[in-house]
């Protein structure tokens, strides 16, 4: 289950990250200002939908990836690890959606 979730979220993220990297490289040319960014993003429904999907995929992908690291490098097993990862996932989802709303809504 986790294996499939990690691969499925990876496939979504591959597309999201490629688009995000291209956007970042395009956007930083000539410097950044908050007004300039927000003028382009505020009210952009497609941008909001895209980054909501991005946040959802990251919320699935990052905790599962960290789980392997915690097991293999720290030997952290049991319920405390899973509780930590659940809190991490919830924090990513909440902060990520707060960011998407802040930039696009």
């Amino acid at each position: 289950m986790l294996w499939i979730a990690q691969r499925a979220s990876a496939a979504v993220l591959a597309l999201c990250v490629a688009v995000h990297l291209a956007t970042v490289i395009y956007a930083v040319q000539g410097g950044l200002s908050a007004a300039e960014i927000l003028a382009r993003t505020r009210g952009n429904a497609a941008g909001f939908a895209f980054y909501s999907l991005f946040v959802l995929a990251v919320t699935v992908h990052a905790p599962i990836g960290l789980r392997s690291v915690l097991i293999e490098w720290l030997g952290w097993r049991g319920r405390s690890r899973d509780l930590f990862l659940l809190i991490f996932a919830a924090a990513l989802a909440w902060m990520g959606m707060r960011a998407a709303v802040g930039v696009f809504a």
């Binding site: 990876a10 200002s33 960014i37 990513l92 802040g102």
Partner: protein
């Protein structure tokens, strides 16, 4: 001891993943405070912060390249492509890193 190229690709994938997991909450926090963005953007003009930005974008590109390699190895039938895919992943990461370095 000489390690296989696939070992180094694995290590880059893992370390870049850890870096991204640590960076994301900070990234989201800053974007969530969008109205105070200009004071933050002024802070990011420092050379060390620029270097950090470049490193995290490189980590993202490297993690993407390494992840595409994993997906290809697991879901595509051929195996002889391993070295070619490792090289392609490294090339993609470097290309994005160079592009950002030029753009900054």
């Amino acid at each position: 001891m000489k390690k296989e190229s696939s070992y180094w690709v694995f290590m880059v994938h893992r370390v870049s993943g850890i870096a991204l997991a640590a960076f994301l909450p900070l990234h989201f926090w800053v974007l969530g405070n969008a109205l105070q963005l200009d004071s933050f953007l002024a802070w990011t003009e420092q050379p060390l912060v620029k270097l950090g930005e470049w490193a995290i974008v490189l980590a993202l590109a490297a993690h993407l390249g390494g992840g595409l390699r994993v997906l290809a190895l697991e879901f595509l039938p051929w195996r002889d492509w391993q070295k070619g895919l490792a090289a392609a992943a490294a090339a993609l990461a470097l290309a994005v890193g160079l592009a950002l370095a030029l753009a900054l």
